[in-house]
Symmetry: C2
Subunit: 262 residues, 2 copies
């Protein structure tokens, strides 16, 4: 199947293909439909996670929260335990397994949280003529731990993880303006320019993803990143958690058009 085919799939069609064994990235799939970061935690920690998301909406923009034990919702009408390409399983903050389905690991007390994903604003930026350098180069966006503290909530605390994209200086205001209209997918950037002042010592060695692509005249622009919830799991060590594998997202039944503010 080509990228053109993936692009035009409905969420239902895409989830069927993912259920049937595709394990790669979902970047570029299902034009117009929002993809989402997954984090599932036991009911015992679910209130604290929801509080953490409420207090840190840029890093953890909540798209949906399932009923405890539920595998689907009105906004994700598939099976959350099979319909992502790959999953990461954490026990007490340690990554213990990467799986292509987690049906056997699902528990009646697990609460699935779906957080907005940068794919949606990247599409908007590309349509505005702001090239996504990493996409053109066939790379994953670089992601970094920072010294920006998230506001803690109950058992959860974390520093913010950011993604970085090089943007021509003249287009930085447009990038801010466009993304600000998508608060449900991380919103406006959190930092523009000097990486050192948010604790990034070497831009060429990201903590997740590939090294950056920066052209002459590019300014490094930093957005709050959906990997923050996984960094939080590693730091706060809840008993059990299941997340998506990086780049292998949940494809939702939420239209991207519904995520734009007026």
């Amino acid at each position: 199947m080509t990228l053109e085919t993936w692009r035009s799939l409905t969420p239902e069609q895409a989830r069927r293909r993912l259920r049937d064994g595709y394990t790669g990235t979902t970047s570029g799939w299902c034009d117009g439909w929002a993809q989402a970061n997954l984090l599932a935690v036991p009911r015992e920690q679910a209130f604290d996670l929801m509080l953490f998301a409420q207090r840190n909406p840029k890093a953890c923009p909540l798209l949906d929260v399932f009923d405890p034990g539920a595998r689907s919702s009105a906004r994700f009408q598939g099976d959350i335990t099979t319909d992502l390409p790959a999953y990461r399983v954490y026990e007490r903050g340690e990554l213990v397994a990467e799986k292509t389905e987690v049906t056997g690991l699902w528990r009646d007390d697990l609460v699935a949280f779906l957080f907005g994903c940068s794919f949606s604003f990247e599409r908007a930026l590309t349509e505005a003529g702001i090239e996504m350098r990493h996409t053109t180069a066939g790379r994953t966006v670089p992601m970094y731990r920072t010294t920006i503290a998230c506001e803690p909530a109950g058992v959860f605390s974390s520093s913010m993880v950011v993604s970085m994209r090089g943007v021509p200086a003249s287009r930085v205001p447009d990038a801010v303006r466009i993304c600000a209209r998508y608060p449900a997918v991380h919103g406006a950037p959190v930092h523009i320019g000097d990486p050192a002042s948010i604790g990034i010592t070497d831009l060429d060695t990201p903590d997740w993803g590939d090294p950056p692509v920066l052209r002459d005249g590019d300014v490094p622009v930093f957005w709050a990143c959906g990997v923050t919830p996984q960094a939080m799991v590693m730091e706060s060590r809840p008993e059990f958690a299941i997340a998506h594998a990086p780049g292998r997202m949940a494809i939702t039944d939420i239209r991207e058009a519904d995520l734009i503010t007026p």
Copy 2:
């Protein structure tokens, strides 16, 4: 003290006066600062309430959630048990008391939720030249139960409560456009025109507040209302809950300017 004085108070000054015994409405107080609906429930029900708010953002736009037992937060730097003019206390959904402070009733497991309030968008409409008829007439806005179902969450379910304002037909699009930019204070209207189609049989007998003021050429415009959480308490009957008394709101340290979407 005159309305002009109230208008120019800081949140800290206003809360001190409320703590010292003022029990009237806070309408018109503290220009530029957001006021909020209060609902506090035991930790046991707090996750379900947060889920209900997440699923019903127009009726329950979350401005802040305190830590369990806490009486203040970064966004409300007062004492939530003394700094509102009046409170309503519910046991198993029954209104059992109206109090001017609830310090003795506060519990270590209570979680305070602050929801956005229509005062903020009313100010924006008034500044745009759309008269708030009820304010001019010295009345409380009329509020109605409807047949619009909120999406249930855990132990909580409710129909939506709406407020109604008469708006000249030519200004209805402006009213929608302006309020849409305030998703944190109920956002765009949920219904325009025919009251019967959302289950309101008699516009002149609201369920809360005063009878409406409608001028010739006005269209009735309906917004999701912050009384919905109290209707939900009456319907879902949690063991214990404390809410603000109607019109007697929590004055927060959140600037209204920070609630406008770009």
